[in-house]
């Protein structure tokens, strides 16, 4: 009996709030009967036509393929450079203000420079995404690697673990949770600049189709684009949680074995 209620709470409770919010929107759209806030069925039918298999290929694929190339490129180069910088102490201190500058510079603000320098092609967009991800991850790799638990370093010294073995067995796993936090933040930043990069001289893409619908007063399609963007953001974040699970499980196991 108790198990039943707990299962019900587990699956129904998280859905309660979205349902209330959706209901709120339905009522709001009904009472307002405003052009800007179309009813749910209209958004749904626009969603179906905008994101049909053809629409997905036309508008979602260009955006997502840019992310698919740009994100790993930014992530990998940040990890590699971060390892190097964390190793060389002088370089780490010397690069601090530069990295702080690029972290503080909103990645959206750097988009126009790239577009004007390299044109509005897909390569530019991949580069924009890669650089946004790069700084977000880089700072976390450097910080994670240079604030490792001193006991860990001492144990590694004691067991004479050096070089690449040390990097892959001790240092990177030790900094893992922080690197993953950076990678997650980088992913949502990547989605943001993916959309923003499509708002300049671009015909196809999730951001382009949403903004062009807005400027041609096709509000259901605009909402379809907005909902799709939200789904991409939530979905990729969910995928990331799934992907980091093996590491977290191992780190958790590690904790229990060392704690015992």
């Amino acid at each position: 009996m108790r198990r039943h209620t707990s299962w019900a709470i587990r699956f129904v409770a998280p859905l309660l709030m979205p349902v209330v919010l959706l209901g709120g929107y339905v009522l709001f759209a009904h009472w307002q009967s405003n052009l800007y806030f179309p009813s749910l069925p209209r958004i749904y039918s626009a969603f179906k036509t905008t994101w049909s298999p053809h629409g997905l290929r036309l508008n979602a694929w260009p955006s997502l393929s840019n992310l698919l190339l740009g994100y790993p490129a930014g992530l990998l180069s940040a990890v590699l450079l971060g390892i190097l910088v964390a190793r060389l102490r002088a370089l780490r201190v010397a690069s601090e203000p530069i990295i702080a500058f690029f972290l503080a510079l909103p990645s959206v603000a750097i988009v126009p420079i790239f577009i004007v320098l390299f044109g509005p092609g897909p390569g530019t967009k991949q580069l924009i995404i890669a650089q946004a991800v790069f700084f977000q991850v880089l700072v976390n790799v450097i910080d994670g690697l240079s604030t490792l638990d001193p006991t860990l370093a001492q144990s590694a010294d004691l067991f004479k673990i050096h070089g690449f073995r040390r990097l892959f067995l001790v240092d990177l796993p030790g900094a893992g949770s922080q690197i993953l936090a950076g990678a997650r933040a980088g992913l949502s930043l990547g989605v943001l600049v993916m959309i923003v990069s499509e708002l300049f001289n671009t015909r196809f893409g999730i951001g382009a189709v949403t903004l062009s619908a807005q400027s041609s007063f096709d509000f259901p399609t605009m909402w379809a684009g907005m909902v799709f963007t939200a789904i991409i953001g939530i979905g990729l974040n969910g995928l990331f949680s799934l992907a980091e699970r093996p590491y977290l499980r191992r780190a958790g196991l590690l904790q229990t074995t060392t704690g015992a």
């Binding site: 998280p14 309660l16 979205p18 010397a94 690069s95 959206v108 988009v111 004007v116 050096h162």
Partner: protein, 263 residues
Amino acid sequence: MGTNGRRGETSYGRWARFALQCSGIVILAILWQISSIAGWLPKAVAPSFIQTISGLWQISHTGTFWVGTANTFKAWAYGMFVSIVIGIPLGLLLGSNKVVYRLSRPTIEAVRPIPPIVILPVVLVAVGYGFNLSALLIAQGAMWPLLIMTSYGVATVPQVALDTATVFHFSFFRRLFFVRLAQALPLIGSGVRLAAAIAFAVAIMAGLVGGAPGLGQLLGLASQANDLPALFALTTAIGFFGVVVISVFSSVERRLNRWKVSS
């Protein structure tokens, strides 16, 4: 070889650190200048370091730049104010009741990875181009970290603190403000810092994409005119302002962290 000084921070004095950081900037500037003289950067399009600095000097003498800066920070301050006034009390409300917290948390967690630009099109048609657009977008973008951090901080107050308040017959409001809110202050501090940085980024974005008056709008105009020196100068200026915002709010966060009661 064995101990390669993991706790390296202490081995550099304060001044040596400062000198190294300055030399890092100088080396980058020299590399930039050399590479544009040597033609590694496309000379026709990418301005050199000196051109960028002189561009920065020039725009700092124009009225439009300072008007844009004022507009950006006006929208930023307004958006921050609204997000704090809504986000912190709402977080307090959501966090202080276990049932409400459980019900709302999954939704809030799900909403978090949605990029703040999503609602731009509908805000654009609803309030039009202008100050309201950027203030609304900023408030919306900055509210989430505040809401999440406040509700989390309030929900994870140690039971001992709550029990102590019960023993001393604290009234509802005293309990809310002097136990829950006080305990959550360090996390709220991080939330405010995150919110300030996001608010600044959204302020730039609103100008660039939505044409709201401010530095972002100037950036958009420069890119439409293909004016690269102005573009580089403006982007550099925006970076400096970003550094200022982040360092100010990091120090605020550190101040609030002094409140942290070690348990």
